[in-house]
């Protein structure tokens, strides 16, 4: 494998190897090893980023025309650097945050697997690889949210996140398959190249909607936004990593990836713009009524995700640049703020925003990091946030069609952002200091490193945005657009109307910060409206599924053995009969000859009649055995000694076993059915018999094709070295079938053991 190819897959292999290694290590060394792995991967991507896109294929299913591979272009490099860079800091932080927790090792292992899944998703060059890693992020997210699995709240949140993102994943799978069929290839570059064919396909619109649905559920767009705040039940490092910086942006990544295909479609633009705007506004309003710092941050994340979706919906090339810039800005300041919120929770014992204040004196480093991050969030110069906000405004102003509304929406969303930044950076660290459950002080360096590094990066990148732009963001925007962008990033654009808009935004946001306690209490009244919200719809749907399942089980699993038998027999008899009649297959054999050997059938008929009229169960079992022996005689006379031998043995065993069981059962003597029930059963028997008879007649009426028999007869000796054709077929020609059959036999034996052993013990009720 050439070196660049190896470099593409090395971070994934390293991550999995580190996860296995960590599982064997002591908890104390788990986090440093994990962080070192992420750091090495970061360096690898640093070396690969900025150059020409690199790609390599690693696996293939030629029969399905799938070639799986990885590719690192500008967009993938941006995401990969964010994932590994923030991953390094978060892993380091987690080791200190959960020091002494016996489950720390598990958390680090899951975080590493999650990191690999994210890297796989963003560097995948085909839709199949993309989807597999995409699902892996949902699964690891489930386990990470349910980290405190003793808590009901955590379990519910984990299940909710899994059901919503997993359901979206199913839609995505269907969408991706449709797109791949239309394009004739599973490769992402191939799909983008085959844009015309994808758009011209009859199922183009459903495919697009399914892909959008997958992205919207993953990135918590309205009306699926509610799972993200609930996922805050996870430990803070998980929230910072999964639910702000990386996983929730995977939906944005997917939309960006498919933008070259769908970007000029009106439906795509409208859906993205307006859903994004609605999501952003919903998140902004709901953020104000929360006091839990993590939930406040979660709603601002929803706002940011909405803004990103909106930007991708705005057509011109400016918006692509705005999207990648804002994505980077947000990842830096939001991860820093989440980690700071975790520090506050850890050191003061509370993360209630209304109970915190004046912490600047006791936690100077934490305060510095939080203030820097908040200033970037508020979009003040010279932070990268300012650059980001300016370009978002520029993109909104340049939008055509409903531009006024978009600008107004962007203005409101940005104002809310400033206000929340004020809450997080100013209210908590300045002013009077209320008493907290624990005496706070700055945390150890491992926890401080994350927020300080990320917040400082926001400042440094803001001072020289064109460096970041030329090296990384231009390439990412090019991947979204399908051609290189002509705009460039700058801190200072001169005195423009946009700058005035920014100034008004900051002023209004500052006023809202001062009014926050009142605003928060005022919005509490809206909680009464929550029962009309989508979260309630989710609960109702879940309860409905359980009710339906209960009703179905009660109707089908009624517990009457006779009822089960009746349904089984009727379905088995009427199903083939219906097909036979509908297809006009009822026929009578043309040359019916009566063979004297057929007299053996008399034995079967006698056995059947005897079974039906037998008094008592023993007699019925014996008579049933007669039917089997009759069948064996038929096989024997028609030249199938092998089958006859087996039939005799099976029949003996059946009668012996049935008789042995019957002796032990408390039912003796006569049939307990009423005449009415017996008549019904007789009717079912006649239907079943008639169905089989008609089927057999139809089979006999069609010409017999002897090719298989002849082939096996000729090849049994030279191919399988055996004269018994039946045995040669069983052990050689169709050996795989036989292997499957004996596996089924063994499984049936295990099931019987489990069932009957279980039945011997009294049932334990409840769960």
């Amino acid at each position: 494998m050439p070196l660049p190819d190896l470099m593409l897959i090395l971070p994934l292999i390293l991550g999995i190897a580190a996860a296995m290694l960590v599982a064997c290590l002591k908890p104390a060394s788990a986090a440093p090893v994990g962080a070192a792995t992420a750091a090495v991967s970061f360096v690898i991507y640093l070396g690969l980023a900025g150059g020409d896109p690199a790609s390599a294929s690693f696996w293939a299913v030629p029969s399905l025309d799938i070639a799986g591979g990885l590719r690192l272009d500008g967009l993938a490099a941006l995401f990969a650097l964010l994932i590994t860079g923030i991953g390094t800091l978060v892993l380091l932080y987690a080791g200190s945050y959960l020091k002494g927790d016996p489950r720390l090792t598990r958390l680090i292992v899951l975080l590493l697997v999650f990191m690999v899944a994210m890297l796989g998703s963003v560097t995948a060059n085909d839709v199949i690889t993309l989807f597999i890693f995409w699902e892996l992020t949902s699964l690891t997210s489930f386990f990470l949210v349910a980290y405190d699995h003793e808590k009901l709240e955590a379990r519910k949140a984990a299940l909710q996140a899994l059901l919503i993102t997993g359901g979206g994943g199913l839609a995505l799978l269907a969408g991706l398959i449709l797109v791949a069929i239309a394009a004739g290839t599973t490769s992402l570059t191939g799909i983008i190249a085959a844009r015309e064919a994808v758009l011209a396909h009859p199922a183009a619109v459903p495919a697009m909607l399914l892909v959008i649905l997958g992205a919207f559920t993953k990135s918590a767009q309205f009306p699926f936004h509610f799972w993200l705040p609930n996922a805050m039940a996870a430990p803070t490092p998980v929230s910072a990593y999964l639910h702000s910086a990386t996983m929730v942006k995977l939906g944005i990544y997917l939309l960006a990836r498919f933008n070259p295909v769908y970007g000029s479609e009106a439906l795509w633009q409208d859906l993205l713009t307006w859903t994004g705007l609605l999501t952003a506004l919903t998140g902004a309003v709901l953020a104000f009524r929360e006091t839990d710092l993590k939930r406040v941050l979660a709603y601002t994340t929803v706002t940011a995700l909405g803004t990103l979706t909106m930007l991708l919906g705005l057509a011109p090339e400016l918006s692509a640049m705005a999207a990648v810039t804002f994505l980077t800005v947000h990842a830096l300041y939001k991860a820093a703020l989440f980690l700071t919120a975790g520090i506050l929770d850890h050191e003061t014992g509370t993360r209630d925003a209304s109970a915190l204040g004046g912490l600047r004196g006791v936690m100077p480093w934490t305060a510095a990091a939080a203030v820097l991050a908040a200033l970037s969030m508020a979009g003040l110069p010279p932070f990268l946030g300012f650059v980001g906000k300016e370009i978002v405004y520029e993109a909104a102003v340049a939008a055509d069609g409903g531009a006024g509304l978009v600008v107004l929406g962007a203005f409101l969303v940005n104002t809310a952002g400033v206000a929340i930044a004020g809450l997080l950076g100013w209210r908590i660290f300045f002013g009077a200091r209320p008493k907290t459950p624990k005496a706070p002080h700055d945390p150890p360096i491992a926890m401080l490193a994350g927020p300080v590094v990320l917040a400082s990066l926001g400042l440094l990148a803001g001072l020289a945005p064109s460096l970041l732009g030329g090296w990384l963001l231009d390439g990412a925007a090019a991947a979204i657009l399908g051609f290189p962008p002509t705009t460039y990033l700058a801190l200072w654009h001169g005195f423009t109307p946009i700058l005035a808009l920014s100034a008004v935004t900051v002023l209004l946001g500052a006023v809202l910060t001062l009014l926050w306690p009142r605003l928060m209490r005022g919005l509490q009244a809206t909680r009464r409206l929550d029962r009309f919200g989508p979260a309630n719809g989710y609960e109702a749907a879940l309860a409905g599924i359980i009710r339906t399942a209960d009703a179905t089980t009660a109707a089908v699993q009624h517990g009457s053995l006779r009822g089960y038998m009746q349904v089984l027999l009727l379905v088995a008899a009427l199903g083939p009969l219906a097909v036979l009649v509908a297809r006009g297959g009822i026929a009578w054999p043309a040359d019916a000859v009566l063979d004297p050997r057929a007299l053996a059938f008399g034995l079967i008929a006698a056995g059947a009649v005897a079974t039906a009229v037998a008094i008592g169960t023993f007699a019925a079992v014996m008579a049933l055995g007669l039917v089997g022996f009759g069948a064996a005689v038929v096989f024997l006379t028609f030249g199938a000694p092998d089958v006859a031998l087996t039939q005799f043995t099976v029949e003996v065993l059946l009668v012996v076993m049935l008789a042995t069981v019957l002796i032990r059962l408390p039912i003796h003597g006569r049939d307990s059915r009423t005449t009415r029930q017996r008549t019904g059963d007789a009717g079912i028997a006649v239907v079943a018999g008639a169905s089989v008879t008609l089927l057999l007649l139809a089979v006999l009426a069609s010409p017999f094709d002897p090719r298989l028999g002849v082939w096996f007869g000729e090849n049994s000796m030279p191919g399988g070295y055996g004269q018994n054709v039946v045995n040669v077929i069983l052990v050689d020609f169709r050996a795989l079938d036989t292997l499957g059959e004996i596996a089924v036999l063994a499984i049936a034996a295990f099931a019987v053991i489990a069932l009957l052993r279980g039945a011997a013990r009294p049932l334990r009720r409840g769960n």
Binding site: G722, N724, V731, T738, I742
Partner: protein, 138 residues
């Protein structure tokens, strides 16, 4: 319902008859009526008869291993018999190998027979497992 004294005494002796017959059926199966499946059924009916006469605990003692283990060993033999073919790139899994060594007696060595033994063991295991579970005394 305890079996008669005569049956209980005769059972160990009589058990040999179906076991020998079943082995004969297994070995001749490739060229004449018989084979692993029917051989297994005959052996299992012998063991079922023994369990009726002396109880399932005694029958399991004769079998040495639990019926589930018989199934497992059989599955392993069946699945393992095809592995050898994987070393030959021209043939697929479960393509059986044959050797005819130069000996005074005719002795065809082959993996198809190992596969058949696998079937034989699984059938014995399944039938006895079901029967013992049905008549379990606890």
């Amino acid at each position: 319902m305890p079996a008669s004294f005569i049956l209980r005494v005769a059972a160990p002796l009589l058990l040999w008859v179906p076991l020998l017959v079943s082995f004969y059926l297994l070995v001749r199966g490739h060229n004449a009526p018989g084979g692993g499946f029917v051989g297994g059924l005959v052996a299992a009916s012998g063991l079922v008869f023994f369990a009726i006469a002396r109880g399932e605990t005694a029958a399991i003692a004769v079998m040495r291993l639990s019926p589930a283990s018989w199934c497992g060993v059989g599955l392993l033999l069946g699945a393992g018999s095809g592995v050898l073919a994987l070393f030959d790139p021209a043939s697929g899994y479960l393509t059986h190998r044959w050797w005819f060594p130069d000996l005074p007696v005719k002795l065809p060595l082959n993996t198809a027979f190992i596969f058949d033994i696998g079937v034989y063991l699984v059938v014995i295991g399944t039938i006895t497992a079901m029967f013992f579970a049905l008549v379990a005394e606890d």
